[in-house]
């Protein structure tokens, strides 16, 4: 009788549930020794075996040197990177990049503060300058970070010393981020992290439910590591020609401080920020006739940004007003006029592991009539509006170990473009290799990207991370 009903149940079960035909999985360790294939009555009550509950959950701890509990963590990478110009440049070397670099990143936690130190030791075969200039990032040592972080109160964070600073919503376009950039690194094919040059600053952050405030004071002005002809040739307006090492731009750095402030808050999932900056143009934007030096005129920037989900992706919008205070009327032909800058962007994962982003960016020159009227004869006239479109395509293949990417800038008003293709392969947990290029296209030699036409280059790199 019993057997019959059991058979019936089994029959019904198989009829109703073809899935049950597949052998059910054995229970994992920690649950029971009972296996579903066991006869009824034996494994029917899978209870935790004694002793398991007392098992130390930390027994399979795999903490290592990366663990936060170690007093000092050291990480970093070694890499070798080489690149060649794909056309000749009478003013620059054929080797666009040839260097090896060891980055050591150290972090030590003390009771009241954390100390960070990131140093790059470099052997550069292109720029043979050996003496160290930490400001310009020249020589065999580049100090990326040397700071201490502490919180004097629950709602305050302070970061004091050399640090990398970033804010704003643009992707490789910056309106309210006036922290130092290294455009040479960017154009010759160093890793993207080197676009950001360090700042020697005091960053104070205040947090509250109403608004968060970042206040960054840079006691001594930190200029961009701007294009000066040493590594990258550029258009020199005084010579009305592309120049390079024959005419290295010499500058007169202002003695002054910079103040940058950001007020931000998240509403729902929308991030809103207001920005202010008082300091100087970060790359030369003026010229002193008497000394023959390029200058960094005074600049104030006021701006705002909004970022958040839009349709199936992320949308962002950012504006900024650049007040060129040394030439507020725009009548001084030797100093850049004020500008209004605007950008709007959108990013979406198009299909699995393929992401596309597009941006539109505008530079609107203020006091354009004054600019035109005072422009020295035979100079190349800038447009009132510089329009720029960008796109980024990122495709991940081979379990996300092979990354194909393309970042492209195209300006319909300047008629020029800049392409940054790159393929990066993670060979294993430590080794990676990449090849990429920087290509500048333009109808004219004096436009923003067109002037770099002799700097087209291909590069390759291998890196060992630890």
């Amino acid at each position: 009788m019993l057997r019959k009903s059991a058979l019936l149940t089994a029959l019904i079960a198989t009829q109703l549930a073809p899935l049950a035909q597949a052998a059910p999985p054995a229970l994992p360790s920690g649950i029971s020794t009972g296996s579903p294939s066991m006869p009824a009555g034996l494994g029917s009550k899978p209870t935790l075996p004694g002793g398991l509950t007392t098992q130390d959950p930390d027994s399979n701890d795999f903490s290592d040197s990366y663990d936060d509990e170690t007093p000092l963590s050291i990480s970093g990478f070694w890499e070798a990177r080489g690149g060649l110009r794909t056309q000749s440049d009478s003013n620059e070397r054929g080797t666009s990049i040839g260097e090896t670099r060891l980055q050591l990143e150290m972090q030590k936690e003390f009771e009241l503060f954390t100390a960070n130190l990131t140093t790059d030791l470099i052997y550069d075969t292109v720029d043979r300058q050996r003496h160290i200039d930490l400001e310009q990032g020249k020589g065999w040592l580049d100090l990326r970070e040397a700071n201490i972080e502490f919180s004097p109160a629950d709602f305050i964070d302070i970061k004091l010393g050399r640090q990398i600073l970033t804010w704003g919503t643009g992707d490789l376009l910056f309106i309210n981020d006036l922290f130092s950039k290294d455009w040479n690194s960017f154009f010759i094919g160093r890793d993207e992290e080197y676009l950001k040059a360090p700042s020697d600053a005091i960053k104070s952050s205040f947090f509250s439910s109403a608004v968060n405030v970042d206040l960054i004071i840079t006691p001594h002005f930190d200029a961009d590591r701007h294009i000066d002809g040493r590594r990258v040739s550029y258009f020199n307006p005084t010579l009305d020609a592309i120049s390079g090492q024959n005419t290295i731009i010499k500058t007169d750095q202002p003695h002054g401080s910079e103040v940058a402030v950001r007020l931000y808050q998240t509403f729902g999932t929308y991030e809103i920020a207001l920005y202010g900056y008082d300091g100087f143009w970060k790359s030369p934007a003026g010229f002193d006739m008497t000394s023959g030096l390029a200058t960094f005129p005074e600049l104030s920037v006021y701006g705002a940004s909004l970022r958040g989900p839009l349709s199936k992706g992320i949308g962002n919008i950012e504006i900024g007003y650049y007040d060129s205070k040394d030439d507020s009327s725009g009548k001084d032909p030797l100093i850049s006029n004020s500008e209004f800058r605007f950008l709007v962007g959108y990013e979406q994962e198009l299909i699995k592991d393929l992401t596309i982003s597009v941006q539109y960016y505008l530079e609107w020159l203020m006091d354009y009539d004054n600019y035109r009227n005072t422009l020295p004869p035979s100079s190349h006239e800038r447009d009132e509006y510089r329009h720029l479109l960008t796109t980024r395509l990122t495709l991940l293949t081979l379990n996300q170990n092979l990354r194909w990417s393309l970042f492209a800038y195209y300006s319909p008003s300047d008629g020029d473009a800049y392409l940054r293709p790159k393929v990066n392969y993670k060979i294993d947990d430590n080794w990676s290799a990449e090849v990429g290029g920087n290509f500048f296209l333009g109808e004219q030699t004096h436009t923003f990207f067109g002037q770099f036409r002799h700097n087209n280059n291909l590069f390759a790199a291998v890196r060992y991370g630890f």
């Binding site: 059910p24 649950i31 009550k45 663990d67 970033t166 299909i351």
Partner: protein, 275 residues
């Protein structure tokens, strides 16, 4: 005498039968099972922490590892299964240690079941807080065989659930997507441990009905009273790639402050809570 024994036996059988039927009646509904499983797998405690080590082994047997610490806080202030009150938004903070190229990188998610999640990425070398546009939750999580959805939980309302069988150890649930075009599987079967409600094995079947992806729970520890998966694997039968996830230093109800899941702590890791 003999008769009484027979009678007694009969009544005993009757009682056993009644008991059995009452047990059968008190067996949980499909809804209760899937919710309890969802709770046990993703919502236990008000918050939680774990150190995770992932080992990804490809077809050729090459290993890649990922190490990270994961913090999680639930929006609902209760673990109650009544009216599924436990369910709701969650916030997650993932701090990477390894491999070297992602050291100190942070991935943050504000999970909205039924909607799109908000995701951020912090890249320390650039001090860049990036917002990630990722609509497909079934893409690989950090190059492993686990999908984002496997790590953060799949919305229960996205599937129809059916209890296909019950045996001594398991409730076997067949899950069929409400919107089949949105996913790569035709259905998946979960073997849910009856006692703990932990999913012990999940089998994904492709559009042709062939098994191609299997998730296994390899080890369970009871931590602070919560049955917790401390080792699991995901195997892709098509790519022959397999990922093993091991959890250590798991703890619950730490009292994680809500501020952890903000830009402040993306830029400055909450070390106290990551230890």
């Amino acid at each position: 005498m003999k008769k009484t024994v027979q009678n007694r036996l009969a009544s005993l059988f009757l009682a056993a039968g009644l008991l059995a039927s009452s047990v059968a009646f008190s067996a949980p509904s499909v809804d209760e099972i899937v919710n309890k499983t969802n709770f046990v797998a993703y919502y236990q405690g008000q918050d939680g922490k774990a150190k995770v080590k992932m080992t990804i082994t490809d077809e050729q047997g090459r290993d890649r590892t990922r190490q990270f610490t994961i913090l999680r806080t639930d929006e609902p202030q209760t673990d109650s299964l009544e009216n599924n009150d436990y369910k709701g938004d969650q916030k997650m903070y993932v701090y990477f240690n390894r491999p070297a190229d992602v050291n100190k990188m942070v991935f943050m998610v504000w999970k909205h079941p039924g909607g799109s999640d908000d995701r951020w990425l912090y890249l320390p070398a650039l001090d860049l807080v990036k917002r990630i546009a990722a609509t497909d939750k079934r893409t690989s999580f950090v190059g492993s065989d686990f999908y984002y959805e496997d790590v953060s939980g799949r919305n229960l309302e996205d599937d129809n659930h059916e209890l296909v069988s019950t045996d001594d150890n398991y409730y076997v649930i067949k899950n069929t997507p409400v919107n089949p075009d949105s996913v790569e599987f035709s259905y998946y079967t979960m073997y849910i441990h009856k006692e703990t409600f932990l999913p012990i094995q999940t089998e994904y079947y492709d559009k042709n009905g062939a098994l191609y992806r299997t998730n296994k729970t390899l080890k369970v520890d009871t931590i602070e009273g919560f049955p917790t998966v401390t080792k699991s694997s995901m195997e892709n039968l098509k790519t022959k790639s397999k990922t093993v996830m091991e959890y250590s230093k798991v703890s619950y109800n730490l009292g994680l402050p809500e501020e952890i899941y903000t830009e402040r702590f993306l830029r400055k890791a909450p070390r106290k809570w990551l230890r």
